[in-house]
Subunit: 113 residues, 2 copies
């Protein structure tokens, strides 16, 4: 073997900066591809390809409207990411608490030893 299976998942999909920008752009309301192209300043085929990746992991949903296709972010698909990263919260919280405590004690006993 020479490379891990691409496992196209949500983590992978949001690893691309342009795709994150697309998700942000489509978060508030559905929009046609053309507007994404214009808003992000990318080439149309590029946008279509990114949208495909996002579609495949259900990060966006589409609906046809005449000749256009209206895309919108499916925020729910972002939850796994939020939950995964949130599972580390207690660790960084602990860290912050330690820092805070150290600052407090320094304030309380300014001249230790």
């Amino acid at each position: 073997m020479s490379r891990a299976p691409t496992s196209s998942d949500v983590f992978n999909a949001v690893a691309e900066p342009h795709r994150r920008a697309i998700l942000e752009f489509l978060a508030t309301e559905e929009r046609p591809v053309g507007e994404v192209v214009e808003a992000l300043g990318l080439a149309q085929p590029s946008v279509s390809k990114h949208l495909r990746v996002l579609r495949e992991v259900d990060l966006v949903r589409v609906r046809r409207d005449g000749r256009q296709k209206l895309y919108r972010t499916n925020a729910g698909a972002i939850r796994p990411l939020h939950e995964w990263s949130g599972s580390f919260e207690r660790f960084w919280a602990r860290h912050l608490r330690r820092i805070k405590e150290r600052a407090e004690s320094k304030r309380t006993e300014p001249k230790r030893a």
Copy 2:
């Protein structure tokens, strides 16, 4: 040009499943590389490479201890991810609320029209 700069950032670093596993493994306490190798069943060079990527975005911290190097997850570096994904929370929350409301109304007026 032919490919976007890899912009090795946190998003990119956690896109790799093995790296996520490493972060989880190293979240609770620091451990030598050898233990990561054993725990994940990966080859040692592979682990070292993944750790390098994680180190470069400050997702892990190292400290030498004799011949070993002790790695641990720096949870704080995961926060940007958590915050980014959290910025979509209101959208999925809105969605869930709509679903809930629909269920409620169905319960309240079982035979509409």
